[in-house]
């Protein structure tokens, strides 16, 4: 009886091991595909320079005023720097 139990247990372990091995190889395949794709994406050189489009919408006066105020501050010497 004990021998029969041991044999069954061994057979179960082998079957389970085989199942896990198959799953592992499948997962590895997917990871490799994603890695290849990511490596390709990372090699893409993204450097286009685009001039301002004549189709760009006009900003209203409030937004233009904000941009002007910000530019004014950025172009002023800082208080700390001017001391």
């Amino acid at each position: 009886m004990n021998k029969l139990c041991m044999t069954c247990a061994t057979a179960l372990l082998l079957a389970a091991g085989g199942a896990f091995a198959d799953d592992a190889s499948t997962v590895r395949t997917h990871v490799l595909e994603v890695k290849q794709r990511l490596a390709h994406l990372e090699r893409i050189d993204v450097t286009a320079e685009k001039p301002v489009s004549s189709d760009a919408e006009q900003l209203d006066e409030e937004l233009l005023a904000i941009l002007d105020d910000v530019a004014l501050i950025e172009n002023q010497p800082a208080a700390a720097e001017s001391r």
């Binding site: 499948t26 595909e33 990511l38 994406l41 993204v46 286009a48 685009k50 001039p51 189709d55 800082a78």
Partner: protein
Amino acid sequence: MGRGHAVRAPALILVLSLLAPSTGEAAYRFGDGVYLGSASLLPDWAETLQRARDQHPILDACVADAERCEGYLRGIPVLLQRARPLSRERQLQLINRYINKRRYRGDRTLEITSALSEETVRLPSRWSTLLEFLRRGGDCEDYATSKYQLLRALGIPAHDLRVVVVFDRASRDHHAVLAVRQDDDGAAWLLDSDDRIYRGQPFGYRFIYALNETSIWDHEVDGDTVFPVTQPQEQPEDSS
């Protein structure tokens, strides 16, 4: 998936990539991309995100007290303060135009020649953080990432923002724009470095991939058959 399928999968990727151009005239939608994985899978992007996190205290200190701003950051507290009460559409218009006024600098592509093969390899330029871009300028993906960071500072959540890398059919060049989700159906506006904001109309871009601070999406391949990876459920987040 059987072994035969596994062997055929790379070929399938290639075929799908070649077929992909037909999808380019559609407007960008957040639901269209195939989830590829965590943002950490692109090392250069992950490093940029980490630098942005490291630089966050500098930006926070500047916004809290303008006297503590370094010269190149002096305008940011005023910009954010004046932008906060605006509607989202006007915030997008303002931030798009503010960043587009900055200096284009496309000199960070490296060409490395192998001593053995004499083959020259052109390495793509490095992503910049908002602070790095404001300090020294940058190229198109840096415009997009800087808009991303400013809109995050204005409270737009990460799951509503993506930097999208595209192929511009007109210039035959790769380009980057910022996509901002407009509704629950995934409709998006694209903020371009030429001052335009695309509100769903076709514009000659073929979408290649997109990323934000959490994830990467592929727009060229059919992920249902090639990449059986499940995207994690997006969690509500602190939008600050």
